[in-house]
Amino acid sequence: MINILVIDYEEARRDFFRRITGDEFKVFLAKNAGQGMGGFTKLKPPIVILHRESDGQQLATDIRTLEGGADCRIVILGCEEDLNSSWYTLPWPLEVDKLKETLRNITAVPEKPAAVKIEETRLDYNVELPKALAFFSELNASDIEYIGAERLVFIKTIFDKLDKLDYYQIFEVPTDENPALVRRRYFTLARSYHPDHFAPVSPGSFRQAAGQVFRRMTEAYQVLMNAEKRSDYDKRILKDRSGDSLRLSGNEREQKGPKVRDREIENAQARKFYNLAQSAIRDGDYGAAKMNLKLAAQMAGEHPLIKKSLEEVDLLLQK
């Protein structure tokens, strides 16, 4: 039995999901997030379905913060593209069979690699600080005062196991952390550990270690913020956690295959109109969006992105 929670203020959409209730799926319906969501996130395996129009993206972020919310599979309706590697997307409207199939697939996907957090045992500064200071022997009293015990111990601890940590562990975030929060985390780390902070410190082992740690954080940021790179990385570390595979290596050819090219609209003018249309959609001006999309279609022909967007706009206009 697969438990599904649908949160949607649209009566018609809730009705649609009632139709799939049966032996295989158990559907819970809620008009808004206030209704009994807390307990639901603990059910296994939970799938939460949200519509973009129904504040879906905001809700999805909120759900992540609930107990068990990190393990929820979240589906956002009315989206064409991967908004976020930690959510699934489905177009709307859709057919019952297609929905069922997708839900089965989602449940069948193996769990993402579990985040192995850095031991949260409180570091004993009486032990760790002297160790760090002994290691970074070039530091003088004013360097030590400037860097502070917390940063000294942090750099030493991470540096010691740098090659055993995956990107999630370096960021200390769950494996399904959404990009907005990954970004916030990177910013927090940069505020403390960006190498420029250490410019006034005597050169030597500390600056080298801190530099290497921050380079790894930047690398993690680059991968975790890119849906494609991140999904490849997830697959890889699930299979193999030995040293080298935890890192983005220089041997990897950047993916520039037809996959990416297909997605982009090559004609610059067409791309401009397409982008204008997307901005108009965001502003709720569907008439202008349609006009821009038609112009884009004239220049780029039957491009899948433009076609999809046109269909979406037509639907919005009917409403």
Binding site: A190, H194, Q212, G250, N251
Partner: protein, 522 residues
């Protein structure tokens, strides 16, 4: 606390700033001028003029007056850029050791970083007389699209001027810092930087004290000088037509026209018409001919529109890399003298759909940003509590040569820095003791279309290893200055392989160099 000054070392002008108390201020020279021409002139009596006072030497002493050295810095003698520049350049450029470029003046040669160091030394001394103390440290700015050699050469210029270069930062990033420091903005901005010699555009996300560069793109051969050149061409053509004289056959006349063209361009930013007059410019069939041309703004705009349009092709590229539409930009910062031209401002407004930000002086904003970064790096935030973190990107891809003249990318452009990537190398013959790796920067897939950055030699490999047995992990690192470091470890022996990187086009430092005196001279 020791002051770290900020220097904007420009193609045509340079500017120096420092943080005093809460604010960054541009440091004026003794005569009150806030920017100095990036010109170095060598007089016959052995004196050296630098800055604004060297400007008129462009006309009086053209063969011994070096200008636009920034266009040459870090370039190799065989580069396309150097060859193009050389054609129009009145001072003599010769090939130095290791394919480097030297300026030959009187009986001496000067490396390009040395020329840069004269300009920097002047900025240093302007700062010193203002502050009343010695200045030893600086942050120097470079165009975002500068490659590794250009950055290294700029750093070298700083060192020759007696400055420890604490950091090299990108001009657009410095401008963003000057705009947003201490303001706690949360917005997406674009920095449109149209200088004398280069064009850069950077898109940034400001998040309180964080300045994250989302994308950057540029053209190192698009600048205000090119607009001057269009005016010169117009004058040359009209004199050819009307008087049947060829001004372009006379290098001195050309320099005088160029000098006036730049001035005319500046006047047209505030006036509707300008009169260009040069007495006895060239000799015609009936004696000397004066130059007397009136240029109005409409005509000027007509001839320069196409050139300015080129900058928006680069803006498109930056927007594409940032995955954004121009209308999403919440503020546009203008940098560089060329943005003083009303037409440029108008076209920027049209492109982004909003009026560019007023309130920073486009010729001073970069130096101010560099000064702010200098204060941060000096640790002054411990007193003021105001900090900023710059998260920049590399503007050029880094790759290595593989078989068939192809280049394989190791670090893609627009990757956040600092960054490192490790790549494994092996030997292709039995008992090979050395491996050579050619490193390139640029966006093309083939060797000849990219800039050769240098050649790496890994030596001291195990002489008993069969082909493919050696495993050398080479780590390419780009630091927060945008400068590349390479180191190599032999995975089999665990030893650090000896990695020598020969930078292309870099002249060895003159030994014992001190203030232009030859070694030994006091």
């Amino acid at each position: 606390m020791e002051k770290i000054i900020g220097i904007d070392l420009g193609t045509t002008n340079s500017c120096v700033a420092v943080v005093e108390g809460e604010n960054a201020v541009v440091i004026p020279a003794a005569d009150g001028s806030k920017v100095q021409a990036s010109i170095v002139s060598f007089l016959p009596d052995g004196r050296r003029l630098v800055g604004n006072e060297a400007r008129e030497q462009l006309v009086y002493n053209p063969y011994n007056t070096v200008f636009s050295a920034k266009r040459l810095i870090g370039r190799s003698f065989s580069s396309f850029e150097l060859r193009t520049f050389k054609e129009k350049c009145p001072y003599e450029l010769i090939e130095g050791p290791n394919n480097s470029v030297l300026a030959k003046i009187h009986d001496r040669t000067y490396s390009i970083p040395e020329i840069g160091s004269f300009v920097l030394k002047q900025m240093k001394s302007i700062a010193e007389s203002y502050l009343g103390e010695t200045v030893n440290k600086a942050v120097i700015t470079v165009p975002a699209n500068f490659n590794d050699q250009q950055r290294n050469a700029t750093k070298q210029a700083g060192e020759l001027a007696g400055l420890e270069v604490i950091k090299i930062i990108n001009e657009p990033t410095a401008a963003a810092l000057s705009y947003g420091f201490g303001k706690s903005y949360e917005q997406k901005i674009a920095v449109y930087d149209f200088g004398g010699g280069t064009f850069d555009i950077s898109v940034l996300q400001l998040q309180e004290d964080l300045f994250e560069v989302i994308s950057t793109a540029g053209d190192s051969f698009l600048g205000g000088d090119d607009i001057d050149h269009l005016i010169v061409q117009m004058i040359v053509n009209s004199y050819k037509r009307n008087f049947k004289v060829e001004i372009d056959k006379d290098p001195i006349a050309m320099l005088r026209v160029q000098y006036e063209a730049e001035r005319a361009k500046q006047i047209l930013s505030s006036e509707e018409t300008v009169n260009i007059q040069i007495p006895s410019l060239v000799s015609g069939p009936e004696g000397m001919i004066d130059l007397n041309v009136t240029l109005n703004r409409a005509n000027f705009e007509k001839i320069s529109t196409d050139l300015i349009k080129k900058s928006f092709v680069i803006c498109d590229e930056a927007m594409r890399l940032a995955k954004m539409h121009p209308s999403e930009i919440e503020n546009v910062i203008l940098v560089g003298g060329t943005t003083m031209i009303p037409l440029v401002r108008g076209m920027v407004e049209e492109y982004f759909g909003r009026k560019p930000f007023w309130g920073v002086n486009p010729e001073e904003v970069v130096a101010l940003g560099a000064a702010i970064e200098g204060a941060i790096l000096a640790g002054e935030h411990r007193k003021t509590g105001r900090e900023a973190v710059l998260l920049d990107v590399t503007s050029l891809s880094l790759g290595i040569a593989t078989v068939g003249g192809r280049v394989e990318r190791i670090i893609e452009r627009n990757t956040p820095i600092p960054v490192e990537r490790t790549r494994m190398f092996t030997t292709s013959r039995d008992f090979q003791e050395k491996v050579h790796i050619r490193i390139y920067q640029g966006e093309s897939d083939t060797e000849d279309e990219n800039e050769l950055m240098g050649e790496l030699e890994l030596s001291g490999l195990n002489p008993n290893a069969r082909r493919g047995e050696a495993q050398i992990a080479v780590t390419f690192e780009i630091d927060t200055n945008g400068i590349v470091q390479v180191n190599a470890v032999d995975k089999v022996t665990g030893l650090k392989a000896a990695a020598e990187i020969d930078l292309a086009g870099e002249a060895p430092l003159p030994v014992g160099f001190n203030d232009g005196n030859l070694p030994g001279a006091v």
